[in-house]
């Protein structure tokens, strides 16, 4: 698995996981009516936690991947050859995006940007109709999460099945 694909997995898991926790917290704190629920602090916390968790989990995953691969080791793997066995040095994959990663990233964004636009349009209509801030903020937040999850899914399918 390449560096960028691992990053996409982390993005997917963190986005979905943090949103699931946010929904759970909101349901636990739900007031009557639900629009009276104090959503602001949990929402801001979940955005902050998602950013920090994405960075921390990414670092942990990369350390784990490096350990599993034995980065920097002169592995000395024998490679059969007609001209006799030779020693191959196992090299780590570069920690950067290549042309395929960039194409996959573009594909993920292009195919899912309408999710964000749809959420923005729904929020706009709700604002014009003077819906409670609770719903507007949550629709916008759901739009961000839905776009993150859908784009990561599209990218992972492209990584696995091809472009």
């Amino acid at each position: 698995m390449s560096y960028e694909e691992r990053g996409t997995w982390v993005y997917l898991v963190v986005s979905a996981g943090v949103y699931a926790v946010y929904v759970t917290v909101m349901l636990a704190r739900a007031a009557d009516p639900i629009t009276a629920t104090a959503y602001q602090v949990p929402l801001l916390w979940s955005i902050g936690v998602a950013i920090v968790a994405a960075i921390v989990v990414r670092i942990v995953v990369e350390i784990g991947a490096g350990v599993a691969r034995g980065v920097g080791d002169e592995v000395g793997r024998e490679v059969g050859s007609r001209t006799g066995a030779r020693v191959e040095r196992r090299v780590a994959d570069p920690f950067r995006a290549d042309a395929r990663d960039r194409e996959i990233d573009r594909l993920g964004t292009l195919r899912t940007w309408m999710v964000l636009v749809a959420a923005a349009l729904v929020a706009l209509v709700m604002a014009l109709a003077e819906w409670p801030h609770f719903w507007i903020a949550n629709v916008i937040y759901l739009g961000f999460v839905a776009q993150a999850i859908s784009s990561a899914t599209v990218k992972l399918v492209a990584y696995r099945r091809g472009l």
Partner: protein, 74 residues
Amino acid sequence: MVKPTRVTNRIRALRFEHDELTQAQLADALGVTRQTVIAIEQGRYSPSLEMAFQIARVFGVGLDDVFQYPQEES
């Protein structure tokens, strides 16, 4: 699995003809990840024209010797 491209290639055969060049070594020469080389070899990713020329140059052959495209059935 349905391959997303009709382009086929002989990269695997060419690697073995060139002193069993590994996917990692080819990736290093091209400046891409080993996963990208694997995806190209398996027909899951069509490289750009520029990368296709770079691959052909690594093996010292022409583009047609690396990549093939089937004739349209009429």
